[in-house]
């Protein structure tokens, strides 16, 4: 079973090593990285110019890092369950990932509330505004990932699990994107904690 699927996946990509849609996703990820690089560079430039309010990152953001890392792990486990065609485990792990992802977005909102309570509301200083701007733009990308997960979840419950090249490709694309928003957040939280 395993061997034939791999063969069929390769047939889909003809003689090329990587499926065109996967390559397209990687290229798109590069452009998203540029978007966040621009924002963090702007942060560094603006910070060097002075008039910069110093404050510490709300602790919820750190807790939330664990949440999104956990969601990445559960999604990876779901992917392995899919490959084994273990339907129950696949549905459960996919559902867990979706819940963790939703929890991440909600907790980010609480993080912003905590920032406000700590005396760094919007509009007080660019140092706080940058954190709001960068984390909310990241949250938008997580929402995009949640939409993809939602589709995967709906299909998991609507149809019997069968490992076909098309479905495996879709799941792999979702997986890559979700790992990307996860790693992106790790970069952002490390950046924001160090650039104080």
């Amino acid at each position: 079973m395993d061997v034939s699927i791999e063969k069929r996946m390769q047939a889909e990509t003809r003689r090329n090593k990587i499926h065109p849609k996967k390559l397209a996703l990687w290229v798109a990820i590069v452009s998203l990285i540029m978007m966040f690089t621009a924002l963090t560079s702007a942060y560094i430039v603006r910070r060097a110019a002075g008039n910069w309010l110093e404050f510490s990152i709300p602790s919820i953001f750190y807790v939330n890092t664990l949440v999104i890392v956990a969601s990445s792990l559960t999604l990876h486990a779901a992917y392995r369950a899919f490959k084994r065609e273990a339907e129950g485990a696949y549905k459960a792990l996919l559902g867990m990932t979706f819940l963790l992802g939703t929890a991440f977005v909600i907790l980010q909102y609480f993080g912003w509330l905590q920032m406000e309570a700590d005396g760094v509301p919007l509009r007080i200083n660019p140092s706080g505004d940058f954190v709001y701007a960068i984390s909310s733009l990241h949250a938008v990308h997580v929402l995009g990932g949640l939409a993809a997960l939602g589709v995967a979840l709906a299909m998991a419950f609507a149809r019997k699990l069968r490992r076909t090249p098309a479905r495996q490709l879709r799941l792999e694309l979702t997986l890559t994107y979700w790992h990307f928003v996860d790693v992106l957040w790790i970069y952002l939280i490390v950046f924001l904690s160090l650039q104080r």
Binding site: A38, A42, D129, A133
Partner: protein, 617 residues
Amino acid sequence: MASAVLTAPATREDALIQELGYDDHFHEHHHGDKYQSNFIFHYIFSQDHKMIAKQFLITGMMWALIGAMMSLVFRMQLGFPEESIAWMKPFLGKWIAINSEGVGSLTQDFYYALVTMHGTILVFFVLTAGLSGTFSNLLIPLMIGARDMASPLLNMLSYWFFFISGSVMFASLFLSTGPFAGGWVAYPPLSALPQAMDGSGAGMTLWTVSLVLFVVSVLLGGINYITTVLNLRTKGMSMWRLPLPIWAFFITAIIGLLSFPVLTSAFFLMILDRSVGTSFYLSDIYIGGQALDHVGGSPILYQHLFWFLGHPEVYIIILPAMGIVSEVLSVHSRKPIFGYKAMVFSILAIAFLSFIVWAHHMFMSGVNPFISNFFVIFTLIIAVPSAVKVFNWIATLYGGNIRFNPASLFGIGFVSMFISGGLTGIWLGNSTLDIQLHDTYFVVAHFHIVMGVAAFFGMFAGVYHWFPKLYGRFMNETLGKLHFWGTLIGAYAVFWPMHYLGMAGVPRRYYSFDAFQAFGHFDNLNKFITIAAIITFGFQILFVINFFYSIWRGRKLTERNPYNANTLEWTTPVEVGHGNWPGKLPTVQRWAYDYGKDGREFISQVEPVGENESVAH
């Protein structure tokens, strides 16, 4: 569908494809049907790359006409400020103010709006979408031997995002407060404060929405171009056998993909400043004596982010034109392109350098002069790969058996324009000279010649050359030559005198020079420029007429390979169907530039290397 394979080969190339080609069983599937099933999916929501190319081209042409007419209106103001333009009232309405003596003149607000829109439209809609969108879509699959783009759906979306983006911008022209008027670069505070001027309100909001949609279009297109070039090349088509236009489109897409997201970030912060009230770009501003509560921002930050896109953007515009010209000049001088690898490496060098020179637009913005030195040096280094390319084009032409048709003439014209405009770039790259030349007509002359007119010449060369592939007919050659000479002479007549204005310090973007005695003696020169611009515009109308006439009435294409060219697009049938090749995909046996080799005029890329052939690529 098997019948297509069984028919007798039409040409030598066709026979080679049938014999050596690669069978991907494309026509055994029926996924092709959805492209051609009915009018709406064939002509409107088409997923076929050739149709999408035509959509980009014609939309781009419409925008070019709108943008050019705008420039004529503000040129009237600059050349003939005293002349009454009350006759424009029916078209421009309240933007023409009529005084008590019945003399109509352009309102100042609308003058700035026109200048802004002219820049935005030409840079983004015409020379990015119209040029790159058209030819990347048309040529990438055809030249690399692919059935279509990697994702035809994303490709279709790319066009429709462009269309919606254009529609939003078009709608902004009809706002009662007018479109955005703060210059195409949209520097804060004019762009970031809705109350800064009339166009900064709703006009700027629509401008931003339009450009964000445009970025989406560019990224969807670019992702597709990159994936297609890397992943869908036919057998034998190694990267070093790619025709030069494909290299140019590929690198252009990479530049766009790395730089446009940065513009999105810049706009994201701008939108927050405008609507949430943050202060990323704003600080210490007084309006009507009242201090605004925006404190702590930096308008220079926007300039850095903007030009990090803005400078690569000029190469996004010019690289496709360079690629097209390389191909056209080689085919029509019947010689291999001189220094193929040098051409590729110079594209790569230009692409790399384009990311580390952005601050040369900001020498006068108060950046540290020591930092300026860094940017001066890298800016001047760009002259090296550019000169390599110019040398290679001239060396390709040298001793060639040149066919002087509109395509090759525009190719040669491109080289001329690129030299003229490129040399003034070396002047402007020096931060010290910028003290005098910054924001003068010298800059206007420089960038119009080097990336405006030159890119248009590349586009014209491409349109005349590949028109038979697009529509199965030729454009009228006499009208084409007339168009070329009119445009060449006209464009130099418009932009050459601007160098003198600029050296004398005449500032760009000014509505009127009445208050400056020093510039009074340029009145006649300004009149001359305006008249030249009107005449040159007339020649472009000739092109548009020729284009649309030829779609239906042009001389019919009767053979597959009318130019005796080597590249794969000329091995497809005269009427190219969906999937491009009716039977097998061609396999590539050699590079694209075997012209005049071993006594043979041309050798198609599908022909295997002969036993006694001299060095093969």
